[in-house]
């Protein structure tokens, strides 16, 4: 089992800010828009370097999505920045008609996703955004796991033609992926090989899955851990290959269990290889105020919950296997 360590923690939104600056340097068609949350989205460095390529929209997210769509017509590559809640639910029809259906090359960049926004509470903690965005035909949905991967993803989506939803967060989390990584959209990232259970995690839950893998190893369970940074298009081949080997699944995400990564994997497996699956996700509820750590614990999104889900998943496959082998 590969041991993951870290020397530094940073917020994934800062990875976005660094990636946006780099994308802007590489391609002068990259422009940025923000709805009155420059500091929260870490867009200051881009604005300082390219003031003429930045548009302050004000608190008007619907207008921001439309303007972004219009900018693509003149060949620009717009990156919109606001909280995940205001990047999706608030502007769903604008994204649907002016961006997705119109096939516009807009990068919808969403910070403060999920519970880890913390004290602001449920009005701002969207847990439905992955579902909303993945249902739009042609939309790519990406939820990277740490600072380095968010930076790499931001650079990569500038080079990809088509609408993208890039989801990241507020809290500092361990940096454990390489600074020089090439981000490949749609390619699952193997964290650790294993044979007993496949743990598919996305975003902040990837680090929790790594910790869970260590705890499971102490109990003699060999978990395969895969980082699904791209929820759509899903790396079907990687998921099916892993589950063919392990026979059971845990999915882990900072999202409602309805409509998220878990459902994408369940749908794939239901058609191709029905397998016991346990969800580590928010159980169809809103969040609340609290510290990120408190909330992740209360809503069942930490490494301990992944461990118990893995044990449940393994238990569910064992009787079936035993019957088949012994029967």
């Amino acid at each position: 089992m590969k041991k993951y360590t870290y020397t530094e923690k940073k917020d994934t939104r800062s990875g976005f800010g660094a990636g946006l600056l780099e994308a802007g340097k590489r391609n002068d068609q990259v422009v940025a828009l923000c709805a009155d949350l420059i500091g929260s989205l870490k867009m200051n460095d881009f604005i300082k370097e390219f003031p003429e390529r930045f548009f302050q929209i004000g608190i008007a997210e619907a207008n921001m999505m439309g303007i972004a769509a219009g900018l693509t017509i003149g060949g620009k590559i717009p990156f919109t920045g606001t909280f995940a809640n205001f990047s999706t639910g608030r502007v769903y029809d604008q994204i649907r008609q002016s961006i997705a259906y119109s096939g516009k090359n807009v990068k919808i960049c969403a910070s403060h996703a999920g519970l880890t926004l913390g004290e602001d509470g449920a009005t701002h903690q969207i847990l439905e955004d992955i579902g909303l965005m993945k249902m739009l035909p042609g939309m790519t949905v990406i939820n990277p796991c740490d600072y380095n991967q968010t930076k790499a993803a931001t650079i990569a989506i500038a080079e990809y033609e088509g609408p993208v939803y890039l989801r990241f967060g507020r809290p500092v989390v361990p940096i454990f992926t390489p600074a020089d990584q090439q981000f490949e959209i749609g390619k699952a990232w193997l964290i650790n090989e294993g044979t007993d259970v496949s743990i598919f995690a996305t975003g902040h839950l990837v680090w929790e899955a790594i910790i869970a893998g260590e705890k499971l190893a102490e109990q003699g369970i060999n978990a395969e851990i895969i980082n699904i940074h791209t929820i759509k298009p899903l790396d079907n081949a990687a998921v099916l290959a892993s589950v063919a080997k392990t026979g059971c699944v845990v999915t882990a995400e900072e999202h409602n269990r309805l409509g998220g990564l878990g459902d994408s994997i369940a749908q794939l497996l239901a058609v191709n290889n029905p397998s016991p699956q346990e969800y580590v996700a928010v159980n169809d509820s809103f969040g609340e105020s609290g510290t990120p750590e408190e909330l992740m614990k209360k809503y069942g999104l930490d490494s301990d919950h992944i461990v118990s889900a893995a044990i449940r998943a393994i238990a569910r496959k064992m009787p079936v296997l035993k019957d088949l082998i012994e029967g």
Binding site: V31, E52, R53, F55, I57, G58, A60, A62, N63, M64, M65, G66, I67, A68, A69, G70, L71, T72, I73, G74, G75, K76, P78, D93, Q94, R96, Q97, S98, Y101, S102, G103, K104
Partner: protein, 281 residues
């Protein structure tokens, strides 16, 4: 390329025939607003805009038009076809399965001349602002035109966009509002009053011009005036006063023909009032 008033009126007559024939052909669609805005769109595409029927999405160096009230797609399609973006015969496929002429305009089927999907109201002004900002970044001096329904102004996004454009000196933008006073459920004054539209747009910082919407010479003169006023720091709003259903007497001035197709007898009556000038599709 640019045509005189008489020629423009001839085109408008043919476009009106196309509208009622298209809507009759599939027994659905929106004839009222289409007929009311025919003179404007004909003036724009055949008398005002610099545009190339060899369609390129980026439209660099060309004037662009965005139809925000996408339900008046019949007039848009007819004007695009007569401009040479696609063959006139394709109008026969309007709203039919497999057509590029969808009920509301879309880029999804790659119909030349369309740069954004519209139909869900209130979104086109924001898109046009984005396109206008891109023109400025590209040092492209051409203009961006839009058309909106007056009922559409009830959508909040319009006013987000209305606030943004003057603050950011988007002065390469000429937005026209079809003030016909009608919407699906009745007169705008009864459904949700729009109030003093000139005062509203001026208060937001726009340069506002009134325009007769069914008088070709008046439209051309006003649009030329709007072009002259562009580039002076303010976006331009044109309040275009039209008759819904203009050109077909029994459809005129009523919301009843907002989204209703004529039957065979009504089609015959309508076509009798509209000269076939360029040949029916």
């Amino acid at each position: 390329m640019k045509k005189d008033i008489q020629e423009l009126e001839k085109i408008a007559s043919q476009v009106r025939r196309d509208i009622v024939r298209m809507v009759h052909g599939c027994q659905s669609g929106h004839p009222g607003g289409s007929l009311g805005c025919t003179d404007f769109l004909v003036a724009l595409y055949f008398g005002i805009m610099k545009h190339d029927p060899d369609f390129k999405m980026d439209g660099i160096g060309e004037d662009l038009f965005f139809l925000s009230n996408g339900h008046i797609s019949p007039v848009f399609y007819s004007v695009l076809a007569h401009s040479g973006y696609f063959d006139k015969s394709e109008m026969a496929t309007f709203r039919k399965l497999g057509s590029r002429l969808q009920g509301h305009p879309t880029t999804h089927e790659h119909l030349p001349g369309v740069r954004i999907a519209s139909g869900s109201l209130g979104q086109g002004l924001s898109v046009a602002i984005g396109a206008a900002l891109a023109k400025k970044l590209n040092h492209d001096n051409s203009l961006v035109f839009t058309l909106h329904g007056d009922g559409e102004l009830q959508e909040g996004q319009i006013w987000e966009a209305a606030m943004f454009a003057p603050h950011n000196r988007v002065d390469n933008l000429i937005a026209t509002i079809d003030v016909n006073g009608q919407q699906i459920d009745g007169p705008t004054s009864a459904v949700l009053s729009l109030g003093d539209l000139r005062a509203k747009w001026e208060a937001f910082g726009w340069d506002v011009i009134d325009m007769p919407g069914n008088d070709m010479a008046g439209i051309i003169n006003t649009l030329e005036e709007a072009k002259r006023r562009s580039g002076n720091g303010k976006p331009i709003a044109i309040l275009m006063h039209t008759n819904m259903g203009h050109g077909v007497d029994f459809m005129m001035g009523s919301h009843k023909w907002h989204g209703v197709a004529p039957n065979d007898a009504q089609l015959k009556l309508a076509l009798a009032q509209l000269e076939e000038t360029l040949g029916d599709y």
